[in-house]
């Protein structure tokens, strides 16, 4: 499969994520959209890595390609941690206010 399809899919997912973050008021869905953006980036990283690994003769290219995959792992870990903390915050928030509306969070301003 050509690389461009992966890129298209990645962009679509990323834009969906952005749209979700910008438009939705439910903070859980905002968190999910952030996850979506992270995963789209992961997808593109892995796709490029796979593409470059097909050219195995050049050692430098191989190294760089392996970097892409390891980044993908890091992003997964970061995403997991973020979800943990984010969900914990939302839970506490819900306990206090009985709502998950993100616009109430602007009390952080002061």
């Amino acid at each position: 499969m050509e690389i461009k399809w992966y890129i298209f899919l990645g962009i679509t997912l990323f834009v969906t994520g952005i749209a979700g973050v910008l438009t939705r008021r439910n903070s859980i869905i905002v968190l999910m959209s952030v996850e979506l953006m992270l995963n789209s980036v992961n997808l593109i990283l892995v796709a490029f890595s796979k593409m470059h690994l097909s050219d195995r003769k050049n050692a430098f290219v191989v190294n760089v390609a392996m970097d892409g995959q390891s980044f993908a792992f890091f992003i997964m870990v970061v995403g997991a941690v973020e979800v943990c903390i984010g969900l914990a915050i939302i839970l506490m928030y819900f306990r206090n206010t009985r709502s998950v509306d993100i616009n109430f969070l602007n009390r952080l301003k002061n």
Binding site: L22, L105, N106
Partner: protein, 638 residues
């Protein structure tokens, strides 16, 4: 040459007296400060006399010292040092001598002041003397400049001594004017330094291999430097465009006026020109210009003096006019005679101003010569010295003024007939205004309302001062009796010959013609005597109430020189400085400094609005930023 090693003490003693009196001004009783001031100058006078004696001996060589290094640049250094030659030795003798007499005079004369004020006053007299000594003794132009600037400072303090707004204003004006002159001098000095890499007077101006002779300066250099030097000399000596300032020195106490107008400040300009005479001799145009300025000042000053009734102002304009003679003398190349005339003028003007001070005290400070003449006439201690001063200054034939003026007239005749004629008419005017004062004194005024408060006859110090000054004023010219009367008696000129011969070589035009000079001598003697007799009868007969013509009002106000100066120089300068203050400084410079702070406060107030706490807007901004980044990266940078 052992005596010469003490010359550094000459300016040092008056300076120490200045420091001493200024520091202890609250403690010192009046007689102590007077004594300290006089004795310091007296010691300097003693050393000067010793130096003069040594200089007079036939085996004397030029003596120069350097004490420490003032500045040093890559390849040249400027030392602080003194130089003793014939010119210096004469000048230090004159400065310390007259300075000493004025110092001891000021003690009994200023007995109305408090002890602190008197100490300050006396201290600044010492400072003025120190500066003048520094100026005449300096071995290079930089040291001379220090003296020059010190004189401006001391004059400023002395003029502002009587505290009121008017005095402060005129003192400040004079100080600024003198600063402008000093600036011109400094520019000229720097110009010389850049072209010749030295400021030493000996190397530049004196000796057969003077730098100005061996490395002939370019036309532009000569003109530029001599214009700068002449400009500052004109300001110091109160010549034509700047002559009004002397009339403002009358605000200072009488001894200070006497010192300023005799041997220090106003003579300094002429002395600068004589010192640097080689520079001027190389450019004949500048010499003619100097003589022209001198002629204008001579006539204007004498005309103004003729119409003044305030005795101190009259004497001030007389100073201006007499220095016109000195400048004419310099302009026609008679340097030694010009110097002799300056010294004679200094002595007799000191005498006149000091005795006029007695008059002012007698006449209840009206200063008006039309009043209280009779009382002044009765005060023999004041009046006889005044007459002697008039005789010396008015060039009455056998006395000193006539001898000096005659030589200047001879030189003028040989050089330029117009300048000669102007000088002759200036001489007539001089005699006329001096006779006018005396005539008015003899006529007297309505003295009934004035009682004598001050008994000048009693103060022996004052009488002694006057006596010495009068003898000097009348007789000092006889050190230079012209050769036509008796050959070989022009001691003064021949004494100064080693110093001035280098430059006088350039300006001598005709060989001396004894017969012609005899005729000139007779002519000037007859003219002086005739104008004495004529003006005596004219002013005696004149009615008490002079009719006020428009011209005499003009003269009475000194051609409104002050106002013209205000309108054309001061006001534009003030406007410019206001523009700089209001616009450049307050708006642009201070505005930009304050503007930084204001901009930070304003922008932070605006940026704070961005921090809304709305998560959506943060994310939107982030996304927009990312998009912008991509757009720039992909489309602009490619």
């Amino acid at each position: 040459m052992n005596k010469m090693n003490t010359i550094y003490l000459i300016p040092l003693f008056p300076f120490l007296a200045f420091l001493f009196k200024n520091l202890l001004r609250k403690r010192l009783p009046k007689f102590v400060s007077s004594f300290v001031g006089s004795i310091a100058v007296l010691i300097s006078f003693g050393i000067s006399a010793m130096v003069f004696n040594a200089v007079g001996s036939p085996q004397f060589q030029l003596f120069e010292t350097s004490y420490f290094n003032l500045f040093s640049f890559d390849n040249y250094t400027i030392d602080f040092g003194y130089r003793i030659d014939q010119l210096t030795s004469v000048l230090i003798l004159a400065v310390t001598g007259i300075g000493f007499l004025i110092q001891i005079f000021s003690g009994p004369f200023m007995n109305g002041e408090s002890k602190e004020r008197f100490a300050i006053f006396s201290a600044f007299l010492n400072l003025l003397i120190t500066s003048m000594l520094l100026f005449v003794m300096g071995s290079n132009l930089m040291v001379m400049f220090f003296g020059w600037a010190g004189m401006s400072l001391a004059t400023f303090f002395l003029m502002g001594f009587k505290k009121n707004d008017n005095n402060t204003k005129s003192a400040t004006k004079l100080f600024l004017l003198n600063l402008a002159g000093g600036m011109a001098l400094l520019l000229g000095i720097i110009w010389i330094l850049t072209d010749y890499h030295t400021l030493s007077i000996s190397k530049l101006f004196y000796g057969g291999n003077a730098l100005f002779l061996t490395l002939t300066p370019s036309e532009g250099f000569l003109t530029g430097v001599s214009i700068l030097f002449l400009f500052s000399a004109l300001i110091k000596s109160a010549q034509f465009p700047f002559f009004f300032w002397v009339s403002e020195t009358v605000t200072s106490p009488v001894p200070a006026t006497a010192l300023i107008q005799s041997v220090t400040v106003v003579s300094a300009g002429a002395i600068l020109l004589i010192r640097c005479s080689l520079l001027f001799s190389l450019s004949p145009t500048m010499l003619t210009f100097t003589a022209a300025i001198g002629s204008i000042t001579l006539i204007l000053g004498a005309l103004i003096a003729m119409n003044q009734n305030d005795i101190k102002k009259l004497l001030a304009f007389s100073t201006v006019s007499q220095l016109g003679f000195v400048f004419i003398g310099i302009g026609v190349g008679a340097f030694s005679q010009a110097l002799l005339f300056a010294i004679i003028h200094a002595v007799s003007k000191t005498l006149l101003i000091l005795s006029a001070g007695i008059f002012v005290q007698v006449s209840r400070r009206t200063k008006d010569i039309r009043k209280s003449g009779t009382i002044f006439r009765k005060l023999k201690a004041g009046f006889i010295p005044f007459l002697a001063g008039c005789v010396a200054l008015g060039c009455i034939p056998p006395f000193s003024g006539f001898i000096a003026i005659n030589e200047i007239l001879n030189a003028a005749f040989a050089k330029n007939i117009f300048i000669y004629l102007i000088s002759i008419s200036g001489l007539i005017l001089t005699v006329a205004y001096l006779i006018r004062i005396v005539a008015l004194f003899f006529k007297g005024g309505n003295e009934k309302e004035i009682e004598i408060r001050y008994n000048a006859n009693s103060s022996s110090t004052i009488v002694m001062t006057f006596f010495i000054l009068a003898i000097l004023a009348l007789s000092i010219g006889w050190i230079n009796i012209p050769e036509v009367i008796k050959p070989g008696t022009n001691y003064f000129s021949s004494f100064l010959e080693p110093v001035l011969s280098v430059s006088e070589k350039f300006v001598k035009t005709k060989s001396k013609n004894v017969g012609e000079e005899k005729i000139l001598l007779l002519i000037s003697a007859i003219i002086v005597l005739a104008s004495v007799i004529f003006s005596w009868f004219y002013f005696r007969k004149q009615k008490g109430q002079e009719k006020k013509s428009r011209f005499s009002t003009l003269l009475n106000n000194a051609f409104y020189a002050n106002r013209i100066w205000d309108a054309f120089v001061l006001r534009p300068v003030k406007k410019t400085s206001q523009f700089f203050e209001k616009t450049i400084d307050l708006k642009i410079i201070e505005g930009s400094v304050n503007g930084v702070g204001k901009a930070v406060i304003y922008s932070s107030r605006q940026f704070r609005l961005l921090q809304s706490g709305q998560l959506g807007s943060y994310v939107l901004l982030m996304v927009l930023g990312t998009v912008l980044f991509f757009v720039i990266y992909l489309f602009v940078l490619q």
